[in-house]
Amino acid sequence: MVEYKGKTIAKGVAVGRIFFYSKEKGQVRRRSVNDISAEKQRFESAKSEALRQLGEIYEKALKEVGEENAAIFEVHQMFLEGDEFNESVISIIETEKVNAEYAVAKTGDNLADMFASMDDDYFKARAADMKDISERVINALTGSESTNAPTEPVILIAEDLAPSETVQMDKANLLSFVTRLGSSNSHTAILARNMDIPAIIGIDIDKAWHGKQAIVDGNKGLLITDPDPDTLADYEIKLKKQAEEKELLKALKGKEDVTLDGKHIKLYANIGGVGDVADVLKNDAKGIGLFRSEFLYLESEDFPTEEQQFEAYKKVAQLMAGKKVIIRTLDIGADKQVDYFGLEKEDNPALGYRAIRICLDRPEIFRTQLRALLRASAFGNIAIMYPMIISEAEVIKIKEISASVKEELKSEKIPFNESIEEGIMIETPAAAIISDKLARLVDFFSIGTNDLTQYTLAVDRQNAKLEAIADTHHEAVLRLIELVCKNAHAAGIWAGICGELGSDTSLTQRFMEMGVDELSVSASRILPVRQKIRSSKTKP
């Protein structure tokens, strides 16, 4: 038994036989040619063939891994059709009077080198795309079949895998990928994660492994060849557990979020933009508990207009088709800076001019956002949430502004939901402690545990040195959460958690006991949290 340590690019466990995949790359020979125009013609027809293949691969990828991941093959077509590639190949054929294979290989190498020498990981990874394209054209020129594909489920081991190779393989025969080269940024890595199979890179692979039994532990980045019986037995158990978990999660889709003793929990998702809604629906969240509206401001060069904001909010409300969408008003400042706000540099930005403090100080920005939110409320089930509250005075001021915006819309005969829910985030110790008073003023509470923890423990969440003492399970934070739930219920409103802690399933039982009514978590955590809710009780 030998263990090899690499780098994880997709998690999970696989057990099976190793299949050594080699490209059978025929050495490209440089050959002098006399008939240059015939050689150029050969290149043109090989290029058409390569483009045709790429079209097919794109269609296959579209069905299997979605539009976003398939797009790379459309880009490959563009690279191949682009002037640089063609001009370079033609010029090498003409000036060196050589065969098309050699001209294409040299062009591919030159372009790959250009990308490989760039200093950004994303651009570096494009070198693999250049090689993928030139190899495809060379194969079309020589008429060779490029691959030896596995015919039964295997752990596939290769020097490197081009994205098109990954997609072309029959998924039913792939238990895992292990490669020596590659990066976690590569499309192959993304595809592996999408196919939900473990993958590791950075392993010094050996051709002699072909046919050996092996284990891939994508959670630890390990490849184990010739495992001993005990290790194998261990992993068989892990494998079984993994399969059960996948099945269970599949079974949980469409199920209610209800505790063993019958309390219904609102299990919602956090999103940062319109593009995240697809994931929310895929994972079967019952609503959106935190829509961070900052993206509209961060992605813009100037204040987003009422119209731009309205379109984004309306789109999400419509996509969610009547399910709750809680939109948080802008939370700029602290770690999120935007030039056009003209914010001064602060010594202590986390305790500074941010979020609702900016909105109340510059009501024109706030009113624009409120108008957009209210107008969008006519198209779905929108609720508004205000961040960084510390006092009743702030909430009263917010309500005055909101009431005046509603009056304005009424006088303009613009429709909106007049009974729209308005709530606040509880993310300062101050708000948690006076939550009995705040509860009388609003429709709901949502606890932002990231900031609440940082402010309660006086631990800067951006400071990596403090990670050891940034105890997210600190009793002080948990007691504040419990207090907030108790005060919410006394006033007849609901309380939820939209911070990271909400998806921590080791706390779900505790949250149920505290009376938490809503959990809003990232889309990928919806089903694990659902599973936990369904096995929890509201009493110990």
Binding site: E74, V75, M78, F79, G82, D83, R126, L298, S300, E301
Partner: protein, 85 residues
């Protein structure tokens, strides 16, 4: 010649997908579109050279448009950058 500046907000910068669309749009514009950043420049209709500029998020690029209907091409390009990058 018309020029404008734009600061890239796409988190990965001018990556393959928008670069491909940009090259198409530049070709279709009928004008010669040049992108300059970090002291280098490239013809926007040449996808690989364009990506070779390695433009990242937060970089300010200068886009110049020459020949053809310059006013229209420049406006179209500006809209393209705002929508895609």
């Amino acid at each position: 010649m018309k020029t404008f500046n734009y600061t890239i907000t796409d988190p990965i910068g001018i990556h393959a997908r928008p670069a491909g669309l940009l090259a198409k749009a530049a070709k279709a514009s009928g004008s010669k579109v040049t992108i300059s950043a970090n002291g280098k420049s490239a013809d926007a209709s040449k996808l690989i050279l364009l990506m070779g500029l390695g433009i990242k998020c937060g970089t300010e690029v200068t886009v110049s448009v020459e020949g053809g209907d310059e006013a229209k091409s420049a406006a179209d390009m500006e809209k393209f950058f705002k929508d895609n990058l």
